[in-house]
Amino acid sequence: MNRTEAPDPVAAPSSGAAAAQGGGRTASQGAASAMKRDRRRTGAVTAVVLALVAAHVIAVRETEFSLLALVEGQEGMARFLSEAFPPDLSWADTVRPALEATGITLWIGLLGTTFSIPTSALLAVWGSRTTAPNALVYQASRAIMSFFRAVPDIVFALIFVTAVGLGPFAGVLALICHNTGVMGKLWSEAIEEIDPGPSEALRTAGGNRVQIVANATFPQVSASLLGLLLYRFDVNVRSSLVLGLVGAGGIGLLINQSIKSFQFDAMLTQIIVVLVLVIAVDLFSAVVRKRLAL
């Protein structure tokens, strides 16, 4: 009784002597309000479920989603596959160009990742609550990162293809822009998660802001930053494939050409080469990240 009234000091003096009699009444009132709350919650859940179902019905209609069309299309699929097999393995015509273009795709992904390190690092430090110099810089950095994250890399690629022309350079620029937004955000989250204790200790030791970031923040996050960097490298190599489709160079460009000229057997070879690259990059980043975690 006493304990339940403790958090409500305003009500306590006015009830005074009546508190003993009022005890039962407040309990039944509490039960009633709890039931009302339950009913309101059930209503809200029903409304959300209905809204979700309606959204999916509309989505199925609007996207012309149809299993029937998929079944009817199996003939075309079979023709496509029969033309794709066996893959075109001629060295000079297909395999060599595919390997070269895959190399370019890999280099686009690599440069797109490493060249975005300085910008990501700066925005991550400014955009973390724990390391930002002031609120204005913090908000501005967050806004910049949101913008670069919101614009897809393929849109950046289309912009840069117009600016610097068709080719891998446009792809690198596109990846730098988009990756700055994503990696900056991931890094700033990693920075915000660390134990603030060591930074506080170095503050009492008389360290300045740069010294504290270098000696308390950075050594605590370096492993996770590197892990996230490798993860982004992995994603960026795969993104640069898609960038090739819009003319930003690499194997994506070749796949696009093969499809347009109905050379499905060459396309299959190119896809196999890409698959090998993606698996290799994936394994590499997984192995290194595992090492880092130890």
């Binding site: 134990d195 200790a201 008389g206 360290g207 010294q211 000696n215």
Partner: protein, 268 residues
Amino acid sequence: MGAAPTLSLQTATAPALSVADLRISFSGRTVLDSVSFDVHAGELVAFLGANGSGKSTTLRAVAGLLGHDSGTIEVEGRPTGWRPQRSRPPRQDARTAMVFQRFHLVPRRSVLANVCTGALHRMTTWQSLLPLTFPTAVKEEAMEALARVGLTDRAHEPAGRLSGGQQQRVAIARALCQGARVLLADEPTSALDPSAAATVMELLRDLAEVDGLAVAAVLHSPSLAREYAHRIIGLRDGRIVMSGTPETVAEGRIAGLYGTPTPQEAAA
């Protein structure tokens, strides 16, 4: 062990740390009120009190981690600390060092690199960017500090691999490398097992008696305070309510700090 002679010496010299009329409030609520005390070089003073009594707040204000509303904090006669309404937090005063309950070391870095960071205030920003670029002189001082806490042989291991008691000694070595005259310790032993706690308390007392530091430690256990401190200061609701040597402070008054008024206290 030698507490009595040091005490008589202290009264003759000026205090290393002198706090007068310290007042701190958080959003209108007063958490420290007219707190005054001195800590002399060579002395280990223990602060006792319940949660929220203001003992950690006092240390944090002395360390400059918190601003204070009024009053003065002086280290060896020169003012330290800061007033939030007058200025932004200044660069910290290197004459006071602090060790924490959770050590606050960087676990991945070597013990030596952690100790060196105590000397950040003596390094240029460029020198301090990487452990590789730390000046040799600082590394030598860090090794001396490690020797003082008995951990020379662990210097090159990652700090996170040491036991809790050893990590706290590394944190103390970092404070020594800082060259501070006043060592503040915020519950330095409450995360440690009893034997590690005893080692750390002995070290703190030794740093006061042998190295002549002024040590102010918030302790969670009255028995540790009785065993190791030269003087005990008790806080309750942001005020100093008790002060004296372990011999002169009655058991009942210490118990009274933790919320249960005792017959003796009621009589007094």
